[in-house]
Symmetry: C2
Subunit: 340 residues, 2 copies
């Protein structure tokens, strides 16, 4: 099969690879209907994260089950399925607590590489959620978004305690930030402030339910949020970037006693204990337990209540993956969908 | 009146001071039944925090109302009252959200100095909670504890989401840590692990409901907590020290997806973003909104359901405040009660 391999920062190639096979009786093999490039794939692409030799890429996936191992009981060949970027057994104590991304048996899907024609999914029973029927083609991007960006934005909004009567500010206008806007509105937030200085992203944020746009960053951005919230700051803040600046902006945009959900993979971020202490904010972040939310998200997608696939503003055949990475790197695209 | 003044690290004196007076119509003056020395008073005493000239000390108080300003309606002279270490109006948006320590009009009581015979309490209607009757003398230490250490330990346990079915680990065996043990049990925690290497404090922790004692610190302490929790870590961890070591120990003692409540005033603590991210813990700390819990805590004390005053293992007349500070500094006393 063909699949994406990163050789070095900026060097992404589509190569001939071995087809994946059932290795454990709990595995499934899926044929990808669509896959995509994640904002986190840009960390190695830009050289921020090391690339240790040729590396298979991709951890987002939606597709049709081709084959299942002998012990798999909840999905069968022919079903359309979505899974999270961490395979999980969904039965261990941490899974049952809703933290499937910390499953005691978790497998990071990035090590298997979903930017390809086929993908082996470990712990298929725990990991995969099937739709009632194979969905129409136009819904595939929406389901694919559920695999990571939607689930991650949703977790961020939940961690930030978005809900009725709350004002939610979202730092970061990438796909995750934009989908956190959507999540916050779905969760009932009264007011959702998207922080973005890019006109097309502002438009999408509004489509997803943003009530206000703040274009300022840093201290000015914080001041604007305070202006919009009676001087107090937002009840809930989502951080979806992962830098020191964005994290500081997020914490200071929250009111005292507010909540910050952070899902940007933190790079060289250090939190000053005294600052967090006096802010009184509740802080939760990390790799989103997308599996917790998948059944609900897939229902909302199947109902056409939400359309998270709108974040894919570039669609390319898998063979042009390199162009897809480049477009995201140069911020010409919010998120690239790849068709195997 | 007489009151405690700190002149320099290690130099605490009881001096003749002006009696406090009603300054605003929302003030009350109370005659202290008892006051005490806080662990946080040791930061300047030890020179960790600067002492900028002679400084009035003390922010914990329980006593009898002597006089109230013209606008005070909820308390009257002769009533026994307790308040938090932050005066608060209890009506602003942050107070109503349960964050009275962040009240938009909050006044830090430490600036007024409760280690004295009399104390002016601003925003008396919002700040003070009266008992139905003047309590018997033996309950005064319990009520005094509610003013800070009990309320702070309680907030830490709430922030750490202590509750039924949860295992709670407490880092720090000072008065706050010990009372977080009590709080965790009152909140229904199944198992409470006190981390302490001091035999008298271990004994008190057990009295307050600790089910396990861990004497190891640092990595060994974390390993012991993991041993006791099926390799996962505690659901809830309270941090009640405020150092880099204790904070690191707290975060690593929590299971992924667990919660950490931190109330030790952080000194030179820096949190690594990546570590907090991957831990998936929910982190909340800060100056405890004691006022939120006061009515409930005072009811439990009046009922003799809890006896938080047990943390006072040294009682001295106010005039011997210096001895009280010294005993706590040298860890000969957990907490010193002073009788004006």
């Amino acid at each position: 099969m063909r699949g994406v391999v990163m050789h070095a920062p900026g060097d992404v190639r589509v190569e001939q690879l071995d087809d994946p096979r059932i290795e454990a009786p709990t595995d499934a093999i899926i044929r990808l209907s669509a896959t995509c490039v994640c904002g986190s794939d840009l960390w190695p692409y830009r050289g921020t994260d090391k690339v240790e030799g040729p590396t298979r890429m991709g951890h987002e996936y939606a597709g049709v089950v081709e084959e299942v191992g002998a012990e798999v009981t909840t999905v069968r060949p022919g079903q359309f399925v979505v899974g999270s970027f961490f395979a999980s057994d969904n039965t261990c104590e941490l899974c049952r607590a809703g933290y499937q991304s910390a499953c005691v048996r978790h497998v990071p899907m990035g090590t298997l590489g979903s930017q390809a024609e086929y993908l082996r999914v470990p712990l298929a029973d725990g990991t995969l959620v099937a739709t009632p029927e194979v969905p129409p083609a136009d819904l595939v991007p929406d389901y694919l978004a559920a695999s990571d960006v939607l689930g991650t934005g949703w977790f961020a909004a939940v961690a930030a305690e978005a809900g009725p009567g709350r004002t939610v500010a979202v730092v970061g206008d990438g796909a995750v930030g934009l989908l956190a806007v959507l999540a916050a509105r779905q969760l009932g937030a009264e007011r959702v402030i998207a922080m973005s200085r890019h006109e097309p992203r502002q438009r999408l944020a509004r489509e997803f339910g943003a009530t206000d746009i703040v274009t300022e960053r840093g201290d000015e951005g914080i001041a604007r949020i305070k202006d919009l919230t009676g001087g107090l700051g937002a009840h809930s803040v989502v951080e979806a970037v992962g830098t020191q600046e964005s994290m500081t902006q997020a914490i200071h945009s929250a009111r005292r006693g507010g909540s910050v959900g952070f899902v940007g993979i933190t790079h060289d971020v250090s939190l000053d204990g005294m600052e967090v202490f006096w802010s009184l904010v509740r802080l939760q972040g990390g790799p989103a337990p997308v599996r917790r939310f998948l059944p609900e998200l897939m229902r909302l997608i199947g109902d056409r209540t939400i359309n998270p696939g709108r974040v894919f503003d570039l669609e390319l055949p898998l063979d042009r993956a390199a162009d897809g990475y480049r477009a995201m790197d140069e911020r010409r695209a919010i998120k690239t969908l790849l068709r195997p």
